[in-house]
Homo-oligomer: 142 residues x 2
Amino acid sequence: MLTQTAEYALRAVVHLAEEYPEGPTRVGDIADALGVPRNYLSKILHALVKADVCGSTRGPHGGFELVRPPTEIRLIDVVGLFDPYLAGGSGSCLLGRETCDDDDPCAAHERWGSVRQQVVTFFRETTADTFVKRRAIAAEPS
Amino acid sequence: MLTQTAEYALRAVVHLAEEYPEGPTRVGDIADALGVPRNYLSKILHALVKADVCGSTRGPHGGFELVRPPTEIRLIDVVGLFDPYLAGGSGSCLLGRETCDDDDPCAAHERWGSVRQQVVTFFRETTADTFVKRRAIAAEPS
DNA sequence: CGTATTTATCATATAAACATGATAAACACA
DNA sequence: TGTGTTTATCATGTTTATATGATAAATACG
């Protein structure tokens, strides 16, 4: 449903949300935590920097961090970078018609559009904090 | 959302549903009608034959046709052949966890599962006749 | 200033999806 | 039985996604 790359990006952002607002986290640490290829993740994080989702710092104590609080980072701005059809509406006609919109719909337009919209809405309305596992403050009760 | 191949398959099956229950349709005719590569479509249709969705006949007057009425062909059995994650539930954890089910769910399990389920349900409950454009029997009223 | 640490960038490799082309096998029909 | 039509199969090519590795540039700190 998502490309591997988009899923890596999402998981990295959720991970960074867990660290927020501590300082930068190294690529290697994120890669180890998520179990994804380090150099590949590096490229993905760099794309997120260019998209103004993450910030980066080089050198000792460097790494990546979110540029805004997790509550203000919509997942659509993360996965949409790597699965562009989720962001823009291109190639959206299930039956492959050139033009397919509300005015001139294909036979599947309404039903498929509705399903598709639910997916898009999910990523648009969900923010990076949603899937953060909060650490327990106190020890768990015995 | 669907791979190109799965979309070709879906469109071919909808096309064959429009011909049903006439005799077989040639690959070339289907390919021309849909605007998809002929030889590639041939391979896809062959897979649909092996999956008992289509039947094929060689030689003159040969081609492909549905083996059952379109109302009895679920789209999941078409797209699931080429997008296996839609059929089986593999790789379904958005956060990449090894085990993620109702008993031991990740932080995204419920919300993502619900969205995902809507897509799967769409293909499971929609049959090949749904998107057939019926030819008007009479001339359209002036 | 020098050195270790870290991201940025570039070059390359691998795997999968997508697509093309040629030949073989089955079939219809004269 | 022969010939043309059609799918079946196999071999190959192209493009994109995924991944790896090496080097360059920036930064912190002694």
